[in-house]
């Protein structure tokens, strides 16, 4: 059941267009008939309980895995039809923030941010330095440029990774669980950066998260995943007003409901008191 709470969800200028995608691992279907679009210039939130395949969706968008059926298009290009060279050309237009930052541990903060520029451009060193410092200034870490990555806190590492993700001026920025494990101050900083990057640079953003309250403050449109497909779309406010039980459970953080608290198991009493034990 898809609770389409907004007719405006119909794609006008989608940068990401996922149509009828099915994907499974080891005989278990993660997606079956997934439809999702991210509009140019918007912040799109992809939410859902743990294990619904949010990170798998990102891997599909980046071409790290291919769908069993359906079509994943980014910038109008079918990801599955691209060869390695084409995929790499497309990825240069996309920035990605990993859940743990995924900074290169043998490089300093400065060199981490400079890494994509050194690999893909032949910029003279003074210009490259200015660009890196500008990106570090944008995330508030210009003063940490010479630090080793081991000296960074979780929030700082996430911000360095964000500076690295935007250093090539991507058209699309993908965030994988950007709020996990952050203290309220770092969380607020990341949230503000997502919003300001979207507003000032016009970057289209896709934020995969299960932090409803945080993302609701900045997202233009939200998709709620459950059971391998989108069960609701719309603005965060519209999702909150939705009566569908699974949406209601997730948006209000109810411990039990369509997503059960207990993993299916044999009879509790029998297992505790039975002969086998």
């Amino acid at each position: 059941m898809t609770e389409s709470t907004t007719p405006a969800a119909v794609a006008v200028d989608p940068i990401v267009d996922v149509r009828g995608v099915s994907y499974g691992v080891g005989g278990r279907m993660i997606f079956s008939g997934l439809d999702l679009q991210a509009q140019r210039g918007e912040i799109t939130a992809v939410m859902g309980p743990s294990g619904t395949g949010k990170t798998t969706l990102l891997r599909l968008l980046m071409g790290a895995i291919a769908p069993a059926s359906g079509r994943v298009a980014v910038f109008g290009e079918d990801i599955s039809a691209l060869d390695r060279r084409g995929l790499y050309a497309l990825r240069r237009r996309v920035g990605m923030l990993f859940q743990n930052g995924a900074l290169l541990t043998d490089l300093s903060v400065f060199e981490n941010v400079a890494f994509p520029l050194r690999e893909h451009t032949r910029l003279p060193e003074p210009l490259l330095r200015r660009l890196v410092l500008m990106k570090l200034q944008a995330v508030g870490l210009r003063g940490a440029a010479e630090l080793n990555t081991a000296a960074l806190s979780g929030g700082m590492a996430r911000r360095v990774a964000l500076a690295r993700a935007i250093v090539m001026d991507p058209e699309l920025l993908i965030y994988d669980e950007p709020f996990v494990g952050l203290d309220p101050i770092s969380l607020g900083v990341i949230l503000r950066l997502i919003q300001s990057l979207n507003a000032t640079l016009g970057i289209t953003s896709i934020v995969v998260t299960h932090d409803v309250d945080e993302i609701s403050r900045v997202a233009h449109r939200s998709f709620l995943l459950a059971g391998g497909k989108v069960v609701a779309t719309g603005s965060p406010a519209q999702l909150r007003a939705t009566a569908a039980p699974v949406v209601n459970q997730f948006m209000n953080g109810l411990p039990d409901g369509p997503v059960p608290f207990h993993v299916p198991a044999s009879d509790y009493r029998e297992q505790l008191l039975g002969a086998d034990w």
């Binding site: 790290a64 990825r91 994509p116």
Partner: protein, 257 residues
Amino acid sequence: MSAAAPYHLRLADTFLKVGRVAMFLVRTGSQCLPALRRPRLLIAQIYNAGARSLIIVMLCGLFVGMVLALQGYDLLQRFGSESALGVAAALGLVKELGPVITALLFAGRAGTSLASEIGLMRATDQLSAMEMMAVDPVRHVVVPRFLGGIIAVPLLTAIFDAIGIFGAQMIGVGLLGVESGSFWSQMQSAVTTADIREGLVKSLCFGAACSLMAVYEGFHAEPTAEGVGLATTRTVVSSAILTLLLDYMLTAAFLGS
């Protein structure tokens, strides 16, 4: 695959792995030229794999040379040929013990370090991050380490040989009373360029084999603590087996030619 799996399935799995390693070698080889345009990365890896293994290689070379002198002297004196101790030690080290033991030391010291480093990069998403930044991790991470190993092992072998011969001379001449002149002059006249070439070819092949197994196991490690540990263990085991297998094949080939 578990040890309890049927024999034929384990054999098939071994052949599959050989195929996968061969394909990985082709992929790595195809990226060698582009990687050479960044010599800074290569030099750093030669330092990591080579210079940091220097102490252990020198120490082991010294002890191996000393033991070789003791055993060689004991054997040669039975035939009244103690003066050939220099030749025996030099040939044993240059053609056989130097390349083999250096490769095994390299696998244990640098190979495990390479495998765990790359495995941890996999576990912490660093390799995935490179992929997402449109940077081929094989070119950026694997190739410099692979080439660094190929260059470092022959250099380490040469140092191992030199220190080993010094150790043999120390025991043979200094302790057991072999005449210094005959020790060195017989060695000089008996050890040929072909012997040194054989040792060099062997060390190059062993360096390639040990480096390949280290980067392959690290690159394909399960992204968990246990997975990285297993990759490290597999690196040592497969490097040792491959080194000794190649040693037999190369020795047979050189003797045949």
